[in-house]
Amino acid sequence: MLKQKVIEIHGEKVIQGNEACSEAAIHVGCKFFAGYPITPSTEIIEYMSESLYKNEGMFIQMEDEISAMCAILGARWGGKKSMTATSGPGFTLMQEALGYGIVTETPTVVVNVQRGGPATGQPTFSSQQDVYQAKYGSHGDYEIICITPSSVQEMFDFTIKAFNLSEKYRTPVILLTDEIIGHMRERIIIPDCIEIEEKEYVKRCEEPFGRDDQHIPHAGNFFEGRNILVEGQLHDEKGRRIGHIAQKSGEFIRALTGKIRDNHKDLTDITYKYLEDADIAIIAFGSVVRSAERTVKMAREYGIKAGLIKVNIIWPFPEDEIYRLAGHIKTVIVPEMNMGKYCLEIERCLKKSKVISVPKLGGNIHKPMELFEIIKKEKNLQ
């Protein structure tokens, strides 16, 4: 259930994406942060260390990202909303514990401010190379919620959304941003009121992992008067191990993935522009949206019927909505700051359209002119 919370110090600010993310986390009630500093996410850690101290929370700089991820899971079971922030190399280390968070159905938020990879890669340059890692990084069958902001205002708004969805679906949520958005400063508006998801848990519940009709478990926290076993093996509604029982294990995985798959409508977040009459469209997410938006405006000024689809929640993949919006569009362009990954999902979904992948490597964002040239070429206007 969403509850209103008034923010006393609201209004205009010029702040960095990383700072906006941290500020939103504080407002939404995050009281625990564990992390290990890494460019380009360090500002989040700096901000949280100071803010949590002032807001009666706890900040720990851990020895590495493995322990950071473990600590935030523990903190949430202790009853406090928790978060960590990292970049590619740290996100890699977090994958094992991320899987643990998924199987134990622990609400928490992991921010990945992407930089160029693999390995140490390009510490100060941007990328969108972790798109698949966010979905498939940990082992086993699971579904993840992954949100991609494309402005500093969205860093604020989507961090709140990430916390709310993690609480609602009891799962770790990935806020997948990149160096450009993380380090960019823009004027944003801190609202005077935000909505916060607050679940009412059944205390002394006999079946802490029993599920409601949306497959979401009603487990609460530790220290609320019930015996509860929280561990990484597959478990039944009482928390007892069931890894040795094939049928029950299968049912568990179906419920674990079902709580996200079956609620895909609630988890679809797409904004679009100029699509009514479009015969060519750009589908983008994250920082690249900004180039795409300019390109579409340039094309419209030129007389080309171009449209824009901006995907805000990239995982679960909004298959139905993308098909509904773009199924009839002849040509779809998918610019990404990687070798062309998300375009594969788009191709799978839009079988009748010509899907053009526009990869961009090296750390720079697509220039609007580059994308415009592709549109002109497709329209035989060169």
């Binding site: 205009e12 010029v14 100060t124 400063r185 900004r290 964002i365 609007p368 002119m369």
Partner: protein
Amino acid sequence: MRKDIRIAGAGGQGVILASVILAKAYGINEHYYVSQTQSYGPEARGGACKAEVVVSDSYIDYMKVESADLFIAFNQFGYEKYKEETRSDCIILVNSSLVKTDPVNEQIYKLPATEIAETQFEPFTVNIIMLGGLTKLLPKLHFKSTRESIKSNFSNSMAQINLEAFDQGYHYIESHYFNNLHKNCS
């Protein structure tokens, strides 16, 4: 109105800080839409560094600078690297203590910021002196707005020296290039 401003220099010269103060001056004190971005290497000092500020009276879609309306070079390398990526009517401001420019280009404003910083203030005030000169050249930006932005970015003791350096940069450009056109400095 959309103005694309690019500042180039070396890591450690305060390129990014100058751009942040500028973005806050426009965004908070003048109520414009602003986007400030940067690009730098992994080194703490040295290496190429670039910061960009886009100012607009409407929503900013593409937040990077393609062709600059205003280009500020803190060192020779930055000047050489980006001097071509400018519009034909681009206003160029250089730190003339470190940058040698093409003599035929009359649109270049020269401010010996390193020299002023080292002789009158402290070496670290170079960026703020440049910001002073830049404020004089920028449209829709009041002297007072940038001053307020500097004040809010530094502690009291540091604000004083930076404000004096800022005034010096502003008045240098004003007295050398705008003898008869005084901007309201109150």
